[in-house]
Amino acid sequence: MNDKDRVVFRTATVEDRVDAIQAALDARGLKASEAIEELGHKAQEEWLPRNGAKIVARAWVDPDFRKRLLANGREAAIEMGFAMPKHHRHLVVLENTSKVQNVICCTLCSCTAFTLIGLPPDWYKDLQYRSRVVRESRTVLKEMGLELASDVEVRVWDTTADTRYMVLPERPARTQGWTEEQLAGIVTRDSLIGVARL
């Protein structure tokens, strides 16, 4: 059937289109419904920013781990029990300091190290953030509530290949003497993306 032969009728609702795909896959034995149970659970209950937060807290209290993390993020994440998908072969961890602010994005789609920082928030996938953060980084960060001093260098990382990035936020001075668990509790998803400081 060519496009010109198709009877034009209203576009199905997005929910009806999703139902159609799921039913068609199930009808062929491709087990979509089972995959939704399994992967839906992972996306909502396992792949969460608390994973990245635990990695950051460990790096803050353990200088040797911090070195390993900065040298090979993927191996360090695995060391803490956080596996990454096969196609994420490389994790680069970007260290923020008082004079450096790293921020990550994906202008071509919306790639992230989702097993560590969670599936990306809506604004990360929107046209506005994707189009503007590479070109107007400081302005965009300010609009998002992060006003940086003029001597802070902004480093934007566009996830245009299959290398993944995660920001290692600067440890706040007020946290001297805190336990690793307490530290993990203050690390936010947005600080792992680099649009917030702690």
Binding site: V14, D19, Q44, C109, D126, R135, T139, T163
Partner: protein, 205 residues
Amino acid sequence: MDGIHDLGGKQGYGPVRYTLDATAFHSPWEVRVNAMYAHVVRSGIFNMDEYRHAIERMDPRHYLTASYYERSLTSLATLLVEKGVIQREELERRANGAFPLSSASAPGRGNSLHRERFQPGDRVRVKLDFVPGHIRLPGYVRGKIGTVVGESPAYPFPDAHAHGVPAEDEPTYDVRFHAEDLWPNGCDPALVHVGVFQSYLERAD
């Protein structure tokens, strides 16, 4: 392809709609789409590069108005139809309405014949490649000069992998550009890093 998806540096999209408690999913159907596309990739029916390219092939007007997970759904359906797993008629009958799919693919290509190994500190230029198929290079660095700061393990070459063209895996280089070199007099000063496949790069000095 120089498609609608290549958003970096484009103007006119307005303020980021940022909220502190922003969620990844807004409806249960979004969770289902995300799980189904990942499952189909895992099953080997199509790969991530084909998936990304099928999003890029969406009608630009549809792309701009669709949410992220509607784009994902459109790519999933397009590839299932193109691979012959499901017929479009069946999808439209089951959905009780039209099911918009992406436009047909143009040919892909293999690795560049002239690939060089680079080291951190090397100055590199992004080649002026204009291709009709998939390319995983943001247009804003094309022809620009930057400095290598990192190298990744080898990955499938997207321009080939999205099209079923045989090719060698190749590394990507994290290349550091100055925003002022990308958009002279039209940007905030920053260092902009892009992951660039080896085939897209040549030595600058």
